[in-house]
Symmetry: C2
Subunit: 226 residues, 2 copies
């Protein structure tokens, strides 16, 4: 989960030595993992600190040695997950040249990470608006950063191919397709990450790579007013 040096509850006192810090972070990581499971099962509000205590095999009071509040715990989970997926996609984008391939890399990275870390990503999606004030703003900023990466990939694609489509709607539609799937994906029925990425990529990419011009409506047909 790559929690290195999260330092959830150290600031006032002198930092401890290296090995102690490492063991602290390792233990905190375990707690975060268990908390992710519980938040995934019961939702943030529905999960109690006693649930977390039970799941992580640590006493209720003992948990507070590692973080100062339930809110901070959700914040740490969301931040770690977001940062990791952003780091990974940037790493992978470094080797992609073709604009369309780069969009596929983004999709494949997102779905691949989602499938491999279903619970954490579900908590990220489902508790999207749960955090308020400071923590909420920080997470929102990271989310914007991630959104912007995707937006720029699509803008590049538009430029390179001379396409015309509303980029904002396209980005958010893509995120919708990808993020919604935690509500239905069944590993026994549905394809794996690679096939899923190809399928969704096909739908999305051929959806936006229509040639420019016209009303943007297929064969000029207009939907009935609703």
């Amino acid at each position: 989960m790559a929690i290195a040096a999260i330092s959830a509850k150290r600031s006032a006192t002198r930092l401890p030595t290296g090995s102690a810090a490492r063991s602290f972070d390792r233990r905190l990581g375990e707690i975060l993992r268990h908390a992710t499971d519980v938040f995934y099962e019961k939702g943030y509000e529905g999960a109690s600190m006693r649930d977390l205590s039970r799941a992580s095999g640590m006493s209720l009071a003992g948990l507070y040695h590692y973080f100062e509040s339930k809110e901070k715990l959700l914040y740490l989970i969301q931040r770690t997950t977001f940062r990791t997926i952003i780091d990974r996609v940037q790493e992978r984008l470094a080797v992609g040249k073709d604009p369309e391939e780069r969009v596929r890399i983004f999709i494949s990275n997102h779905l691949g990470y989602f499938l491999a870390n279903k619970k954490a990503m579900s908590v990220l999606s489902h508790e999207d608006d749960t955090l308020k004030n400071g923590y909420g703003q920080e997470i929102a900023a990271i989310k914007r950063e991630y959104y912007r990466i995707c937006l720029e990939l699509l803008e590049d694609l538009k430029r390179a191919k001379g396409l015309e489509f509303p980029a904002r709607i396209a980005v958010l539609s893509l995120f919708g397709m990808m993020n919604w799937f935690y509500t239905w994906h069944n590993p026994r029925v549905d394809a794996d990450a690679e096939a899923l990425s190809r399928q969704m990529g096909d739908i999305f990419l051929s959806g936006i790579t229509r040639p420019a011009g016209g009303t943007g409506n297929l064969r000029g047909r207009r939907p009935r007013k609703v």
Copy 2:
């Protein structure tokens, strides 16, 4: 909201006369509307009965005259919303002949209703898995009914045009696009229901109406393994 004869809390005793029943249902409808607002703002678990009492201007105990539990309240909101949107789409589909037009009608109905009833639909989406046991099964059954309508529209389209695409993934991608948008839609920035339906319809429909055959991957390009 069309709550007619919901009868949230009547079964044992003889049913009251028409006018009394009507006033009961009207009041219950008001409570459901206020509860929808509160659930939208704070989430189901995060909203307390005292919040609902404050929002609807009725005492805490008084609420229980109209329904027997907080759970039932969410159930009533979800059932009413679902039934209404299903009724409407079936009404509108009755006049559509062309398979593609029918898919557009479905999209336009969903987004149009979503925009006009943003809070109720958000509660439907966000509290997707909140209800357990009996209530949960009932809502899940209605959801399957709605899913099936959309699936059959896409199967019809496949047949009519000789297309090849994974219908299940397509349906769920479409629902993803449409349902995710409550997390980002801003009426001051984003288009209205009609334009939004056209844009999403364009992306989705030209996404799935690629000609059949081949790997299903654009220009044979394969995404890097993740």
